[in-house]
């Protein structure tokens, strides 16, 4: 029997403002599906970042708070500490999480705060017009690295999933992508698993999603997918980096 | 009327504690009180001090340049604060550690060998209580029985320390009355 498209309840009717070929829309949908499937819409609080997804709350139908740049993990901490029964996720980009919010994400992860972070890594600051991010690839041109990222000058791109996995505190840390259907299935599973760990009050969870930004990369959506596969995936390798189970077995 | 007592010595002599006990006793007796710890440029050189203000009306400035009384537990404290004491104030000098006097003829100087008395009781740690007791006995700033009760309460959670502190109170009172 053919499946017909049905909008998840957690997703609003509003048309998104995202550019053609941008992966935010797919990620929003995956989140909404997971929230519906787990039946947690009525007790979920999302935290919108500063960046392209600052208006993410317009596309969901549950409680939301809007953070300052990089501070979403501190806000999620505040919510979870006073209301451990709420399901809380932060939705952050690479500038937000890996640059200005590096301190907040590392300490929240290290305290083992029981919320979930969706980390959308597309190697650039999108909303401000494609400036260099901590995850910008070596040699990648951006509006603030016109000659390409010079790693002698600004260091290597930061691998957040690996970095956070190095913390001793148990956590669920994974990197996935949503650029093709086969990846999307795995990404959704990872998001669901992350939420499940939170529901069980097990650990902090982070799903890094390798994403595209055709507009700021100056590519068509199709070219952007190819570029991601050829350039990002070899450096930002997909997989599960850490689960609380393996730590507890040691 | 407001009266102020400066307790001064070096860190570890229990200066803040005896100030606290006196403030507590004065409060129990219905006075307004304020206790201000070492919290100023005077803190240098490891000197610990606190000031206790006791009054029958709300206390205005808790910052006092010229206290009425002084309990000096070491020499630098005496040298620093003795000149500031108001005329007719009581100056208790821990003579076990201070060989000099207040160099004032307008104050009531009381020399108490607090460390030696405390040592005879079994621990120099109670020298502060000896000095406090001698001061209260001499100045009558609070009722001695109220002080006794407050010392007891202070050590309520460490009951085995009560006897030696009570003995220190008695010895301090005796030292003050002898003079």
């Amino acid at each position: 029997m053919a499946k017909t498209y049905k909008k998840p309840e957690a997703l609003s009717e509003q048309v998104t403002h995202y550019c053609p070929g941008c992966t935010h829309g797919v990620i929003h949908r995956l989140l909404a599906e997971v929230i519906d499937e787990l039946g947690i819409r009525g007790r979920t609080v999302g935290i919108a970042p500063v960046g392209c997804a600052v208006l993410a709350y317009n596309y969901f139908t549950f409680d939301f708070q809007e953070a300052a740049h990089g501070r979403a993990p501190a806000m999620a901490t505040g919510i979870k500490r006073v209301r451990p029964d709420l399901m809380v996720f932060t939705y952050q980009g690479d500038g937000d999480l890996a640059s200005i919010g590096m301190g907040e994400i590392i300490h929240a992860a290290n305290r083992g705060e029981k919320f979930t972070t969706i980390f959308v890594n597309n190697t650039v600051y999108g909303m401000t017009g494609g400036q260099m991010a901590p995850t910008t690839l070596k040699g990648q041109r951006t509006t603030t690295s016109p000659a390409g990222r010079d790693v002698e000058d600004v260091g290597m791109p930061v691998k957040m999933a690996e970095l956070i996995s190095a913390l001793e505190t148990p956590a669920y840390i994974t990197r996935q992508t949503v650029i093709k259907p086969k990846y999307i299935v795995r990404a959704k599973k990872a998001i669901k698993k992350a939420f499940q760990y939170q529901m069980d009050r097990r650990c902090f969870s982070l799903v890094e999603l390798v994403s595209t930004c055709p507009t700021n990369w100056g590519l068509t959506p199709v070219e952007a997918i190819k570029w991601t596969e050829e350039n990002m995936l070899p450096y930002f390798q997909l997989g599960e980096f850490k689960t609380p189970d393996e730590v507890e077995e040691d | 009327m407001q009266r102020e007592v400066m307790f001064a010595g070096f860190g570890g002599q229990g200066i803040l504690l005896i100030g606290n006990i006196l403030a507590h006793a004065a409060m129990e007796q219905g006075f307004e009180v304020a206790w201000v710890p070492s919290y100023g440029p005077e803190m240098r050189g490891g000197t610990a001090y606190c000031l206790v203000a006791i009054s029958d009306r709300p206390i205005g400035s808790p910052i006092i340049r010229n206290p009425m009384h002084l309990v000096a537990m070491n020499r630098p404290s005496l040298e620093k604060f003795a000149p500031m004491v108001k005329p007719n104030g009581v100056v208790v000098i821990n003579s076990s550690l201070i060989s000099i006097g207040a160099e004032r003829d307008d104050v009531d100087e009381l020399r108490v060998p607090a460390n030696d008395i405390a040592k005879d009781l079994g621990s120099t740690k109670v020298a502060n209580i000896v000095a406090l007791s001698a001061f209260v006995a001499r100045s009558n700033i609070v009722d001695f029985e109220v002080l006794r009760k407050c010392v007891q309460e202070q050590f309520a959670s460490r009951e085995k320390l009560i006897p030696i502190n009570m003995a220190a109170l008695d010895a301090g009172e005796k030292a003050a009355r002898l003079k």
Partner: protein, 356 residues
């Protein structure tokens, strides 16, 4: 329960618990770390939340998140820490969340010192963070009043859905005075279901709540600012608090002073009274809203030759005193900012030099 002798910082912590605030996020900084130490012991006893954040920046947003989902929250800090929290204070003000901040002010600028100061007057009353916002600022002059103001601060923060700041100073934090605690307050904001992100299931409603501060549309941002302004105007109408001192006499000068400094001024005024010189004081208990009308009326009285703002800063509140006096008499400033507190004798000399 009778009076107990307590250090200001510890009393502030206890007062928060009595005020039904069971959520405390903070970062250590002298001279107020005793609040965190005290509450790290007390919060577990009462089933509350104590968390030492990784920085004041993070703490600011922990407060945001927690207040945003309807919890009563507190932080305490001192000047440099409040600077770091100022970003969050701007966001919290815009998002209209009730949060209570206590600033046990120390000397500045920069690292400054750890001694008492009132040099954060501008920061507290005029901004600190970006944008058009106001904090309701309470200024205690002793330990009991600090306790009373903590008890007051939560209902005020909730009434206006606005952050409240208690502006103390190092002396109030460090000194011990007898305090009495009143009964416990009810534990949570009553109208929070209308705005808090506490989960639709919790409030049994179908509409979701949104806590935010972004208004990209000029008209909407204008409207939002007008909503905020209306709150600040209402505070000016309803929340001005001050203590008159010796105001019923034929005074020759009017002192305006708050917090620790005002206690010294009281002693100075008493001493002058004994000499036959009458001086009055208005002690603002709210720094925002500022007691503009009472000060103007007092300064306009026949025989008042000068209004003197006496403060532990290089002249901040004096600008509000000038604004209040509106030329009814000359306005002067006296103060110190290094951490030393002027003595009553010094204050007497200053006042005498300004009157005939």
């Amino acid at each position: 329960m009778g009076k107990i002798l307590m250090k200001g910082n510890e009393a502030i912590g206890e007062a928060a618990i009595r005020a039904g605030c069971l959520n405390y996020f903070a970062y250590p900084i002298t001279p107020q770390s005793e609040v965190a130490e005290y509450l790290s012991r007390r919060m577990p006893e009462v089933g509350g939340v104590f968390l030492q954040g990784e920085s004041e920046v993070a703490v600011g947003y922990m407060l945001f998140g927690a207040a945003g989902c309807g919890a009563r929250v507190l932080t305490t800090s001192s000047s440099p820490g409040i600077s770091l929290m100022s970003e969050a204070i701007s966001y919290i003000s815009s998002a209209e969340l009730p949060v209570v901040f206590v600033n046990i002010v120390r000397g500045g600028p920069g690292l400054g010192g750890i001694l008492p100061s009132q040099a954060d007057y501008f920061q507290a009353t005029k901004g600190g963070g970006h944008g058009d916002y106001r904090l309701l600022v309470l200024a205690p002059s002793g330990v009991q009043e600090a306790v009373d103001m903590v008890m007051m601060a939560f209902p005020l923060a909730e009434k206006y859905r606005n952050p409240v700041m208690i502006l103390g100073d190092g002396l109030i934090g460090q000194m011990m005075e007898p305090v009495e605690f009143s009964d416990h307050l009810k534990s949570e904001p009553s109208n929070k279901d209308d705005w808090a992100t506490n989960g639709m299931d919790t409030r049994n409603r179908k509409e979701r709540n949104l806590v935010k501060s972004l208004f990209l549309d000029a008209e909407l941002l204008e409207e939002h600012n007008l909503v905020l302004k209306a709150k600040y105007d209402r505070m000016k109408q309803e929340e001005v608090r001050y203590e008159p001192y010796n105001l019923e006499t034929d005074y020759r000068a009017l002192v305006v002073s708050y917090g620790t400094m005002s206690r010294v001024c009281k002693t100075a005024i008493d001493n002058m009274k004994a000499e036959g010189i009458e001086v009055a004081m208005i002690r603002p208990q709210t720094l925002f809203p500022f007691p503009i009308d009472p000060i103007r009326a007092a300064a306009a009285k026949d025989g008042c030759q000068a209004a003197i703002s006496i403060e532990l800063s290089m002249g901040q509140m004096v600008e509000d005193v000038e604004r209040s006096v509106q030329g009814k008499c000359p306005v002067h400033w006296h103060g110190k900012a290094g951490g030393e507190i002027p003595t009553p004798e010094e204050v007497v000399d200053v006042i005498k030099s300004l009157i005939k």
